[in-house]
Amino acid sequence: MSLMARDYSFLLFKSVSHALSAEIILKRHEIPFKLIPVPKQISSDCGVCIRFSPVDNERITGALSCAVDIDRVVSAGCDTIFS
């Protein structure tokens, strides 16, 4: 994985339905993010995840709490994953 990936955090969801539900909410809150295929280093699942900048961490989790089930948050710089 490139150094770039270390600079981002990722939200993982149980399914695409959840990821796309989160997308609608984040767009409404005008929080920058990108919907991308789940990087292999994070999970072998074939779905999509939300990549975001760590500076938006609190806004994102705040906007999504109670609204969408988040499966896992992978924080930026997590070496065990991006080895």
């Binding site: 149980k14 399914s15 695409v16 339905s17 699942d45």
Partner: protein, 386 residues
């Protein structure tokens, strides 16, 4: 001569132009499998499916779009609601006006140790909700009730039955095949735990679409009938245990769902009350028109507000299938004679085993269609009375 389509209770036709356009757009420009791959087209297909859940959740006042799963029709949704939920030793209550899509799974479950009580309705197809109360037992698990009969057109007392179910801690499942898109449905106000709907009737979607709303948490008590790939949790060999994936294995009917989404938006754009008023007006003019013919019997409740635009009738001495052939050949009117997949409803009305003629009106029928239909019934009646 254009054909006059009066079989909207079987499936609605024609569909709004928007529905055809949406399906064509999907196939030409998207075409990918939602929830399977991470590429742009797959994501866009996934958005279409989610948008359809959002629109349906709004239409039914469901708390969350992910409380809705897609099936191929109401029949599959009702099979999940019965075969997936009930266990030997459970008791259930249903009405004598039900369609075979509920009766057959329940009769099957009877052979597997589920106890079924059928609440008798009046010959007009009406159910007094208070008749449900004495039928409730300690092991009563659920009440299954159609929102409106596809034979007599009778609207059932769903809200009051839902209140009784809630009072007794019993699950309440409603078959909205005939009503979704035609009359307002509010799963919260009506205390509905499971709402089975079909996409191809009053929601104006194509055939092969339908779904089920499940009250939050209920998904944990229901087994899926079909298991397999969902695009999620691919590293595991066991079925996902969360909504909506638990009940949506296999590549979905995305082109159909794209059409259904356009159909639901058409309903919401037209206004469900406006649709209801228009259709009720057509059916009532027809009923008034044919009621004056001697020897013509119209079934179902007399009051317009108690019925959907489905009209069953018989012409003295004329079999429904002969009449249907006459309507088709002489007047280009498409109708459905017989038992309408609902033998129990016909027994209740006293029309078993001959059945009835059924003309069912839709949003796209005109006043002229109604006049022609009245004329056709009049001609048959004159012929029988010569």
């Amino acid at each position: 001569m254009d054909c006059i389509y009066l079989d909207n209770a079987a499936t609605s036709w024609p569909k709004p132009r928007e529905v055809i356009t949406a399906m064509k757009d999907y196939q030409e420009n998207l075409g990918a499998s939602p929830g399977r791959s991470g590429h742009r087209l797959a994501i866009e297909a996934g958005r279409t499916v989610l948008d359809a859940r959002i629109a349906l959740a709004e239409l039914f006042n469901a708390p969350s779009p992910l409380d809705i799963i897609f099936t191929k029709n109401a029949t599959e949704a009702l099979n999940i609601s019965t075969l997936g939920l009930l266990r030997a030793g459970d008791h259930v209550i249903t009405s004598s006006m039900e369609h075979n899509s509920i009766m057959r799974p329940l009769r099957f479950l009877e052979t597997r140790g589920v106890e079924v009580t059928v609440a008798r309705c009046s010959p007009e197809g009406e159910l007094d909700p208070e008749d449900i109360r004495p039928l409730i037992k300690n092991n009563t698990r659920a009440i299954y009730l159609t929102h409106a009969s596809n034979v007599s057109g009778t609207i059932m007392p769903v809200e009051r039955a839902g209140a009784i179910a809630r009072e007794h801690g019993i699950l309440f499942c409603v078959d909205a095949a005939q009503t979704a898109g035609a009359i307002p449905i509010d799963v919260e106000r009506m205390n509905i735990d499971l709402l089975a709907f079909t996409g191809h009737k009053s929601l104006f979607g194509p055939s092969g679409t339908g779904g089920l709303y499940l009250r939050k948490g209920l998904d944990r008590e229901i087994d899926p009938l079909i298991m397999g790939g969902t695009g999620s949790r691919s590293e595991f060999e066991d079925q996902p245990d969360f909504m909506p994936d638990k009940f949506e294995s296999g590549t979905p009917n995305t082109i159909g769902i794209a059409g259904l989404l356009a159909g639901v938006r058409f309903v919401m754009g037209s206004g469900i009350e406006a649709i209801e008023e228009r259709e009720r007006g057509l059916a009532f003019s027809f009923i008034q028109g044919i009621s004056s013919f001697e020897g013509v019997t119209v079934y179902g409740p007399a009051a317009a507000v108690k019925r959907i635009p489905v009209v069953s009738f018989n012409i003295n001495g004329m079999s429904p299938s002969d009449a249907a052939l006459f309507f088709d050949e002489k007047y280009n009117i498409m109708t459905r004679p017989g038992l309408h997949c609902a033998p129990s409803a016909h027994r209740t009305m006293g029309t078993f085993p001959i059945g009835t003629n059924r003309m069912s009106f839709g949003f796209f029928n005109s006043d002229a269609d109604v006049r022609t239909a009245i004329e056709a019934v009049g001609e048959l009646h004159d012929y029988k009375n010569q």
